[in-house]
């Protein structure tokens, strides 16, 4: 049997995470002697994919809330449980990994009860590894989760909760039929994008696609309708019939907007077209990914790519390098700034290099997040220090249990993406957990900080920062770059500057000695091989002016220690 059946991507298996939702239908012979049809959806849990999770929940009647017996309730658990409650789902709490020595079932029960207000005496104790508790869970689903309701006689309403791209069949939508029925040959309309098309095939996933005549009210399955453009098939949209369809779409649809932006550039300029093709292919299965061409003086031609969050960014970058064999430089992530100019315009700026001249700016607004942090009481001070240092605005704090405090903050997204999560984990010995959602745009005193190498500004190293933090971050980044940039033939001065004002400087000393003196008959080949190795190492670096800059320098901002 294949382990992790539904997490099929290499990255998912390696990291033990779910990136892409999967739907599957199974038949279950229950203790009462009857056969039940379960339509199950495995969703991501990470905050980057909150909208997708919310649509999957909207397609369901109930949810199994899986809590790790060793970790307990985390901020993400709370967030996802709240979402399920708001969708009026029946929730079955389950405590997993009880076979592990570090499992603490009683503590976790307490957290579920106090933190989530879910009666925990009904929580199922299970181990997915040993199979313990699985039968109980299946019986609980039969007993507690209501059968789907819906009106077979009403006009078709089906919720698209996910989609993927098939090279031969085009876009495949995963749907939950609410009212009416969806069948082959039907003329349908996608309500948000207002596209009409013919149903080519409907079926169910077990988990392989299995065609059926029709998907009826309450059923979950897939829909193929020959559309080749994934942007027409939006998660959260409602499918209805073209003639005499539903008046109102199902609630909850919204456009997914990228939150984090980064520049992706091929190290080898010849790979630009390959990168474009690769992004196009990934977008087919991942419509949340957006990109547009970007040109950098330092890095050449590339793309500004928008992601749902940092995990999404990491995963996409890794897939581009692994699945498409590209060598990429990623620049430090940025957010969408709203720049109000003196002429009264509002510009949405995704890249520091697009920032207009300071004299033309009236004010800049930046996105703030509502962050929820769960942490043991001992670490409240550590979270305070970190979050205030990141310009966080404290909102509320309450005890969920004797061992867990819930803190709420408003924090600029731009601060959160600079290593906040890792810092949070390390300052709380791994105990803190974090969840967040978009809050609002707020005015901030922001400036663009440039990094100069050998006296020349390198656009790909520029970033936007709060004025009060400009000095500390510029200094820290300059020092970090000094560690990363190898010594070269000439001294490389590194400066951090706002406009023409230099905030910090340091330098990479010139290389003094690089020679292997011994070179006789047998050494010549060996020596040449060494030179070839050095050359290969240089290929992973980018020449900027006369400075060789390694890949990781462009992400150094994420690793600075202020």
């Amino acid at each position: 049997m294949v382990e992790q059946l539904l997490d099929s991507m290499d990255i998912e298996r390696e990291r033990g995470i779910t990136i892409k939702s999967q739907a599957v239908r199974v038949l279950y012979q229950a203790d009462d002697g009857r056969e039940y049809q379960f339509n199950l959806i495995d969703t991501p849990g990470h905050v980057d994919f909150t909208y997708e999770v919310s649509r999957s929940l909207a397609a369901c009647e109930g949810a199994v809330l899986v809590v790790d017996a060793t970790q307990g309730v985390e901020a993400q658990t709370v967030a996802n449980a709240m979402m399920a409650m708001n969708a009026n789902l029946e929730i079955i709490p389950l405590i997993n990994k009880i076979d592990l020595p570090a499992a603490d079932v009683e503590r976790v029960r307490g957290e579920i009860e106090e933190g989530l207000a879910i009666p925990a005496d009904e929580a199922i104790l299970a181990s997915a590894k040993t199979g313990e508790g699985v039968h109980k869970l299946l019986e609980a689903i039969v007993a507690r989760i209501p059968a789907p309701r819906g009106e077979a006689a009403r006009p078709l309403k089906a919720l698209i909760f996910d989609s993927y791209f098939d090279a031969y069949r085009g876009v495949v939508a995963l749907v939950r039929v609410v009212d009416g029925s969806l069948q082959k040959g039907q003329m349908i309309r996608l309500m948000a994008t207002d596209v009409q098309t013919l149903v080519e095939e409907v079926g169910v996933r077990r988990p392989a696609n299995t065609p059926v005549e029709a998907l009826k009210s309450g059923e979950v399955g897939y829909l193929m309708c020959g559309l080749k453009d994934p942007s027409l098939v939006k998660v959260g949209d409602t499918v209805t019939v073209a003639q005499g369809g539903a008046d109102e779409p199902l609630p909850g649809y919204r456009e997914v907007k990228p939150m984090v932006f980064t520049g992706l550039f091929p190290i080898d300029g010849d790979q630009y077209e390959d990168l474009r093709d690769a992004l196009e292919k990934l977008t087919l299965n991942d419509p949340a990914l957006v990109y547009e061409p970007e040109t950098s003086h330092a890095l050449g031609f590339g793309f500004r790519v928008g992601f749902l969050g940092l995990l999404h960014m990491e995963v996409v970058k890794e897939r581009l390098e692994r699945e498409f064999d590209l060598d990429l430089i990623a620049t430090a992530p940025s957010v969408e700034y709203h720049v109000f100019t003196t002429k009264g315009e509002m510009l949405a700026i995704h890249s520091p290099q697009d920032m207009p001249d300071a004299t033309l700016i009236e004010r800049i607004e930046e996105p703030y997040l509502k962050a929820t942090i769960l942490v043991p009481p001992d670490y409240v001070g550590a979270v305070m220090d970190l979050s205030v240092g990141r310009r966080g605005i404290f909102d509320t704090m309450q005890y969920l249990s004797a061992s867990t405090v819930e803190m709420k903050w408003a924090i600029p997204l731009s601060e959160l993406i600079v290593d906040y999560f890792n810092q949070l984990k390390s300052r709380t010995r791994g105990y803190a957990s974090l969840d967040y959602e978009f809050d609002s745009y707020r005015a901030s005193d922001l400036v663009k900080l440039d990094i100069l190498l050998s006296g020349k500004a390198v656009d790909a190293l520029s970033f936007i920062v709060h004025k009060d933090k400009a000095y500390a971050r510029g200094d820290a980044l300059a020092k970090k770059l000094k560690e990363i940039i190898p010594r070269q033939l000439f001294e490389v001065p590194i400066q951090a500057a706002i406009g023409s004002r230099i905030l910090a400087r340091t330098n990479v000393k010139a290389l003094r000695k690089d020679v292997l003196a011994k070179c006789y008959g047998g050494d010549i080949t060996r020596k040449r091989k060494l030179l070839e190795k050095q050359k290969a190492g240089k290929r992973r670096m980018k020449n900027i002016g006369n400075v060789e800059v390694p890949q990781e320098a462009f992400m150094a901002l994420l690793k600075v220690d202020e």
Partner: protein
């Protein structure tokens, strides 16, 4: 047509013990071990066969290296050297070098080798400081080294010593003292190597474990600059990045390596090279191990030539441009970066260029 061999190298892959920094082809065996006898006998047979086949007719220099040639005992070494004399048409002034280590070069051996035609001794001294020798794990102390220099010099007025700088714990003044003493001993040739760490050696393990600290590149650069100053003041010419000699005592055998002449290597692990009509071939243990095209051969020649103080004539670089497009531009950037300078119509390495040799060699080889 293949070019005739101009140089002959004979490898003796045995030592009394392995030094802490060494990863050469050699093994530690007792001097009377049967394996050494059979190895030497086989090497003599191979040498005779080479001679009969006529491939040694143009050989101008001979170098017996190791390992430790003097470790295998005077009888075996004398047989080998005698066979060399029989097998080659050596001129009286043909350079014939034998490598020797201080602990195994005796006066009778030096005398016998000299009488059989050996006219140059290369001594593995490494340092005249006992702390340095201990760190390196050498099998001799500094007094043994002093005696060996004197012993070799009694018979032969062409003695070379190998020295290592940048040894953990070595000081600038200690290093300068070694240099001064070596100069005063009357040797004609000095090779200086900055210590390089070879993975898997005991020294590399000591350094990885933090028991010893390798001097950084900056302090190695200081030592090398001090070496150049001191030896220049004493009248030594630096004719190659690591080689200094009194006028007229540059090592002809090594210059053959650096000027792209064909050489034959006999013995375990010894490398041979032959220029051919289609480029260049390298052999090891009787097997072809590498084939270079004419273009690669040209790049290698230019790269090796830049190890030498005389460098390359500007006209040669211009002529090379035809088959190695971009070479003229490479030399322009080397000039601009201060790694080479123009002297009498030739590109020669600068002081900075000696220290940053890999930058010069790498840029030239990148065109191949």
């Amino acid at each position: 047509m293949s070019e005739d061999y101009r140089a002959l190298y004979l490898h003796i892959p045995f030592c009394a013990s392995r030094c802490g920094y060494c990863d050469f082809v050699t093994e530690a065996l007792e001097a009377d071990d049967e394996r050494i006898s059979s190895y030497t006998e086989e090497l003599i047979r191979v040498l005779r066969r080479s001679s009969r086949s006529g491939e040694l007719g143009s050989v101008k220099t001979v170098y017996v290296g190791g390992g430790t040639p003097t470790h295998i005992g005077s009888r075996r070494l004398i047989s080998l050297v005698y066979t060399v004399g029989l097998s080659l048409n050596l001129h009286t002034d043909s350079e014939f070098t034998v490598e020797a280590n201080p602990e195994s070069l005796t006066a009778p051996l030096a005398r016998d080798l000299f009488s059989l035609g050996v006219n140059r001794f290369s001594l593995g001294v490494q340092s005249l400081n006992d702390d340095d020798l201990l760190v390196l794990g050498r099998g001799h102390n500094s007094d043994a080294a002093r005696r060996a220099i004197a012993t070799a010099g009694e018979r032969c007025n062409n003695v070379s010593v190998d020295l290592i700088c940048g040894i953990p714990k070595q000081t600038l003044s200690g290093w300068q003292a070694t240099l001064r003493e070596v100069v005063a001993s009357g040797v004609k040739h000095i090779s200086v190597y900055p210590l390089t760490l070879e993975a898997t050696t005991p020294l590399a393990r000591d350094i990885a474990a933090g028991r010893l600290v390798l001097p950084d590149d900056d302090s190695q650069a200081e030592l090398l600059l001090a070496t150049a100053d001191l030896l220049a003041a004493e009248g030594f010419e630096r004719y190659e990045v690591a080689s200094w000699a009194r006028p007229g005592y540059a090592c002809a055998h090594n210059i053959a390596y650096w000027t792209g002449q064909s050489y034959l290597g006999l013995g375990r692990g010894a490398a041979g090279m032959r220029n051919t009509a289609s480029g260049r071939q390298r052999y090891q243990d009787g097997e072809l191990v590498e084939s270079l095209s004419l273009r690669q051969r040209l790049a290698e020649d230019l790269m090796l030539a830049m190890r030498l103080a005389r460098g390359i004539a500007v006209s040669e670089v211009q002529a090379a441009e035809e088959s190695l497009a971009g070479i003229a531009a490479v030399f322009s950037t080397l000039l601009a970066d201060g790694l080479v300078e123009l002297c009498e119509g030739r590109y020669c390495p600068t002081q900075r260029g000696w220290l940053l040799g890999n930058q010069i060699f790498g840029r030239i080889w990148a065109l191949a």
